[in-house]
């Protein structure tokens, strides 16, 4: 549905994209994850035909974004990062002009308007000027404009940015309802969003795709180290040496301690499971365990691992 072939984009001397290639199947919901300035927006702008790539090519719905730009634009619904809207128009007018500029038929326009107003929950503000809307409603108007012509492909640039948690959940919910019949490519820097609403995630860093997979596979792929967090009551020094000597534990560090209890983080060798041994040791020494938890690596850790440059890490 969407294919990119070694896309490169240079702005003056800065290289925003360095040979990005991928292929997205129909019906997939793909999240483009990356820190600010990684090249997410540039990539999306190229796919919508707004910016020409410096090198490489992209095909959307099997049409070239440069030479068949008009046909590509007919098939795409696009929500730009800045969500530009005509402030002086009322919500209804803004949607109506979008329909007209897209060349929609009159009878088709009416039902489409009714549909998006319902889906995006704009019923209470249709008559209001966009200038007077809250950020959440503006975002919904932008989304309504993007889905008005019922496009096969949705490209959403940070659809939930600047929204409060409730509004974010609403927009995510909306994307979930849309994804049943559409291919969606959305960018975000909110990890939980990618984790919850995307089938597939690209992590993009400094203009390159550094990871590609389902949120789960990315987590397990990069889960080199896993940890066990233990909180118990006992003398710090002996607890630390005893637990550190268990087979499979590579390192012990104190996370936190109070006068009565101590929290330790045990780094484990791959495949090791020391939960029972920890219990046995604690029991035989009379140290009550207050908390025992395995820490699995999240998409957040993968993201940090991949996108933090060495200097920042150190």
């Amino acid at each position: 549905m969407i294919e990119a072939q070694s896309l490169t984009k240079t702005y003056g001397v800065t290289r925003a994209l360095k040979g990005v290639s991928f292929s997205i199947q129909p019906g997939e919901v793909v999240g483009l994850l990356g820190p600010n300035g990684a090249g997410k927006t540039t990539l999306l702008k190229i796919l919508t035909g707004y910016l020409p790539p410096t090198e490489g090519s992209a095909r959307v719905a099997n049409l070239d974004v440069l030479t068949q730009s008009l046909d590509v634009r007919r098939r795409i619904g696009y929500l730009p990062e800045t969500n530009p809207l005509y402030e002086e128009l009322a919500v209804y007018e803004s949607l109506l002009w979008t329909a007209r500029l897209r060349g929609m038929e009159k009878n088709e326009t009416e039902s489409a308007l009714r549909h998006v107003i319902g889906v995006c929950g704009l019923g209470s503000v249709v008559g209001k000027d966009i200038a007077h809307l809250s950020k959440g409603f503006r975002q919904r108007v932008g989304l309504a404009q993007a889905i008005l012509h019922d496009p096969e492909i949705l490209i959403l640039d940070e659809p939930t940015s600047g929204l409060d948690p409730n509004q974010q959940a609403e927009v995510r919910q909306l994307i979930q309802t849309l994804k049943q019949k559409k291919t969606v490519l959305l960018s975000t820097h909110i990890l939980s969003e990618a984790q919850s609403s995307c089938d597939r995630v690209f992590i993009i860093h400094e203009g390159q795709i550094v990871a590609d997979g389902t949120p789960q596979s990315l987590s397990s792929q990069f889960a080199g180290v896993h940890k066990l967090i233990v909180t118990l009551k006992g003398p710090e020094a002996s607890v630390q040496t005893t637990l550190g000597s268990l087979p499979g534990v590579t390192r012990v560090s104190v996370e936190r301690k109070t006068s009565t209890e101590i929290s330790l983080s045990l780094e484990l060798a791959p495949g090791a499971d020391v939960r029972e041994q920890v219990f046995d040791v604690a029991k035989s020494n009379g140290w009550p365990i207050l908390h025992l938890a395995e820490e699995t690596i999240s998409l957040e850790d993968v993201f940090r691992q991949l996108t933090l440059t060495p200097e920042v890490k150190a």
């Binding site: 008009l70 696009y78 730009p80 530009p84 809207l85 060349g103």
Partner: protein, 240 residues
Amino acid sequence: MTLRRHPIVVLAHKELSTFLNTPATYVIFVLFLVLMGWFYASPLFSIGQSSLDTFLKPLPLILTFLIPALTMRSFAEEFKGGTMEYLSTLPLRDYEIVIGKYVAVMGLLIILLAFTLAYPLTLLLVGRPDPGQLIGGYIAAFSLGALFAAIGLWASSLTRNQVVAFIIGFFVCFILYLVDRAADFMPGILSETLRWASVNTHYDAFSRGVLDSRDVLYWASGIVFFLMAALSVVHSKRWK
């Protein structure tokens, strides 16, 4: 596709309705009509001629700043608000965007000039003006406005700042209005070139009721030139 649904017509319609919903448009209209009314009517009875000269003579100078004031927001506002990205990702070609906006300004110009029809009407009541001269005068005024509008649109495409767009537009219009004053001091061929380049030469010919194809060519090529310039600016903004 029917003409009503052609992207240029739809965009022109949208732009025109935006113009008519903007208070600034009415401020410019009122300013224009007050200025023109005063210029036209105050000497009318002292010179005792039933002609539109007192309206047509000061018109170019007034339009050098009123037209750029109308067009200054056309593109600058779209660039500033980011809505150019919205327009450019709709299935619209760049030239359809430029022409759609231009047609809207033409609509505004026609409305503006329609208000001044009161002047020839009063002439018809009190005297016997030459109808050829009246019609020629309006064609001249419209041609001049059309050229200035193309210049204003181009100026607006250069920047995201409306004030800068206005100043550039006014400056270029004003130069075209002034150059023939310099012609007297220039030698032969240069003098003729300057005279040819000036809007006054062609405006005066039209407003006398003389419709020469060379003048038509001047207006048409000027309009096409500045619209093409605007188009290439709009186009090139994406290739940077």
